[in-house]
């Protein structure tokens, strides 16, 4: 029989350090929700299909239901709670989702917002085809995706414009 041992991990989430002992089978998603109290990261399928649990792990979009917290020891994680600007001002991606009907029930939205934020960082001026490929790891049961694509297009335009106007802005 396996001896159940807790392992100490330290993960920086949205800039704050969280240290605790975790059983090895605790997923990063459950770590974020239960240990950090950050319930913005949603769990839909819990086995790697829906993308609702997407977070940035050292800057890259990953499914937190398919990563154990012990694998994230020492890493930097950004969740949807870390997207808004100072004073809780919506990020350009979040504002575009609101403005273009990119959400209905909102369950899938945190995963989409995280995926889109990383996608636009890497593809500041995407084609529609690139947007569809970039979001293929996230499912939405409500919107039919058209509003989401429109939101990404709008946020990308804003991204490109801001990039020209404020070349030194850290958070476009």
């Amino acid at each position: 029989m396996t001896v159940v041992r807790e392992i100490d991990v330290e993960v920086r989430v949205n800039g704050a350090a969280y240290r605790c002992g975790v059983p090895p089978r605790l997923t990063l998603a459950d770590f974020l929700r239960e240990r950090c109290g950050l319930t913005g990261t949603h769990l839909g399928c819990e086995h790697g299909v829906c993308g609702a649990c997407t977070v940035l792990l050292d800057g890259e979009a990953v499914r937190s239901c398919l990563v154990f917290a012990v694998q994230a020891d020492g890493a930097e994680v950004t969740t949807v709670e870390g997207m808004a600007g100072p004073g809780d001002e919506l990020s350009p991606v979040q504002a575009a989702f609101r403005d273009h009907h990119g959400l209905q029930c909102g369950f899938c939205t945190p995963g989409f917002v995280v995926s889109v934020t990383a996608f636009l960082r890497d593809h500041p001026d995407p084609t529609d085809e690139e947007i569809r490929q970039g979001l293929s790891g996230n499912l939405c049961r409500c919107t039919g995706y058209q509003g989401i694509i429109a939101a990404v297009r709008a946020a990308a335009g804003q991204h490109a414009r801001r990039g020209r106007e404020e070349p030194t802005a850290a958070h476009p």
Partner: protein
Amino acid sequence: MIPATFDYRRADSVADALALLHEYGDEAKLLAGGHSLLPLMKLRLATPQMLVDVGRLGQLSYVRQEGDEVAIGALTRHRDLEVSEVARHSVPVLAHVAGQVGDPQVRHRGTIGGSIAHGDPASDLPAVVLALGGTLVVDGPGGRREIPSTEFFTGFLETAVRPDEMLVEIRVASTAGGWSFQKFNRRAQDWAIVGAVAVAAADGATRVSLVHMGATPLRAAATESALAGGATPAEAAAVAAEGLEPPSDANASREYRRHLAEVLVRRALEDVSLGHG
């Protein structure tokens, strides 16, 4: 969706990983990207007692040109292979297919070594390594040994890697000719219902492999021998499913998979004969 309990060790080197495998024997499993293993553990189809995490072995994440060959470290993630300049230049089919595995989130975690060591017949990268006539390098208590890809996949989710060994490198010859990857799936960026890879090799032969057409990733032997005998792409494609027993499942019946294999192999061979790639 909670896996059975297990203990966890992070390996700092290949030697460390091999020592841990040796120490824990049958109870241990390597953890690379976890994107095949975690789903199995959550369904409790896999219940390892000890996970040996090799996911941070940065020294096994590389794509290097070595003479006429390209060497890929087993811990290279799909995304890193997709954007590797060396892979894009010397084995473009490999970079292309790495970019077709799953979706962006999967490609940020999954590794080529995990994909090949898992031995899933539905996986894309094993088929490419077969079509490239690649070699798998494993390390273990007896030192390193090389296994030709044609001898590597031994059964459903079974490979020639022994429990106390680890896959460390994938070696493939550079290609200069045409290639094609045909993936038929239900949703964008999903597992293949059937897939086909064709590569014009440096020796003039065309090698063809299939995804999800049997218990293991496999070469389309009947098609390859038809081509060697001078058959046209259409003639060679017509025998693509000969001797194969693909699975029936919710996505496709066995008959439909056989039909898909013929169509996809024909498209792939036509692409290659037109010099595409």
